[in-house]
């Protein structure tokens, strides 16, 4: 059960990481990247590191996404 959960999360992690690299729409990439952070957060939690999970959720999924969105808003949305 526990291993299956881990493997599912890791597969999801790889899928989101590939999606971030492939997406040309930077807004979509930023949103998918925050999903990546959320999956990572669950993995940290499951691996027994609640403090790292907390930081990942707040900084990875929250703050960096906001900063990415601001940066996209000030530049262009499409990757050249």
């Amino acid at each position: 059960m526990s291993t299956a959960f881990d493997i599912t999360l890791l597969l999801l992690l790889i899928a989101t990481a590939l999606a971030v690299a492939r997406l040309k729409d930077l807004l979509a990439a930023a949103v998918v990247f925050s999903t990546y952070s959320l999956v990572m957060c669950l993995l940290w939690l499951h691996r027994g590191a609640p403090d790292v999970a907390m930081t990942e959720a707040a900084v990875g999924a929250g703050v960096t996404t906001v900063l990415f969105l601001i940066a996209i808003g000030r530049t262009t949305r499409r990757e050249k």
């Binding site: 590191a49 403090d51 703050v63 900063l67 940066a71 000030r74």
Partner: protein, 237 residues
């Protein structure tokens, strides 16, 4: 041709890396340096020697205190670099206006954020102050506090949130983490003769706990202020 070359180079580079990963010891294996080295000492004597029930805090603030001190200095320096880049370009400086697209968040978002804000703040403060007992501490609580600041700024508008933090005090909040570390370090010199030394005498355990909590608060406040400032400066026109 070029693509085939790049692909084959990547595959050649990947093979030793994958072999190295396969050779890594199993997660939690008993014969790894993690288990046989210094960690065992930390786990057995950490609470007694370093003074915090949470071993992670013992390592971060006591055994590896210098690492953490310069880590927060690096974070502060990165903020200084961002400020130099972004504020140098604009003449107005960081005014806490909220220009953006002019779209106000929906009533649902506004209600939920306002409803949860006090609880989020309380959780962040709990995490900071309880860092020596339970998982968490200054970095974690500071991140939550900074994220709360961002959501509040988006929902309530920058002016109302900024009113709580006058310009003069903001500088002190941003440098809070390296500053408290430096003060605690010098206090350590006076108390024990070592920079960032914590008193270990039985009668002075309260002082050691006080120092740990003070540093946690410094890291939390400083971290939150740095996250908030990054957001303000990047968003300001």
């Amino acid at each position: 041709m070029k693509k085939a070359l790049v692909t084959s180079l990547l595959i050649i580079a990947a093979i030793p890396m994958l072999i190295a990963v396969a050779a890594l010891p199993r997660h939690g294996a008993l014969d790894t340096p993690v288990q046989t080295g210094i960690s065992a000492h930390y786990l057995e004597f950490g609470v007694e020697e370093a003074g915090a029930e949470n071993i992670v805090t013992d390592v971060i603030l006591n055994y590896r205190g210098f690492d953490t001190e310069f880590e927060v200095t690096v974070i502060f320096t990165s903020l200084a670099a961002v400020l130099a880049l972004l504020l140098g370009a604009s003449t107005a400086g960081a005014t806490l206006s909220r220009p953006g697209s002019g779209v106000r968040p929906s009533v649902v978002v506004r209600f939920v954020v306002r409803l949860l804000a006090p609880f989020t703040a309380m959780f962040a403060i709990y995490v900071i102050l309880n860092g020596h007992v339970s998982p968490g501490g200054g970095f974690q609580g500071g991140a939550v506090l900074g994220a709360l600041f961002i959501t509040l700024t988006v929902v309530l508008g920058g002016a109302r949130v900024a009113g709580a933090f006058p310009e003069a005090s903001r500088r002190w909040l941003q440098i809070a983490a390296p500053l408290t570390f430096a003060v605690a370090g010098v206090a350590g010199v006076l108390l024990t003769g070592f920079y960032l030394g914590y008193p270990t005498e039985v009668g002075l355990h309260w002082l050691r706990t006080f120092m740990i909590i003070a540093i946690e608060i410094g890291i939390g406040v400083g971290g939150a202020a740095i996250i908030a400032t990054l957001f303000i400066v990047m968003e300001a026109e």
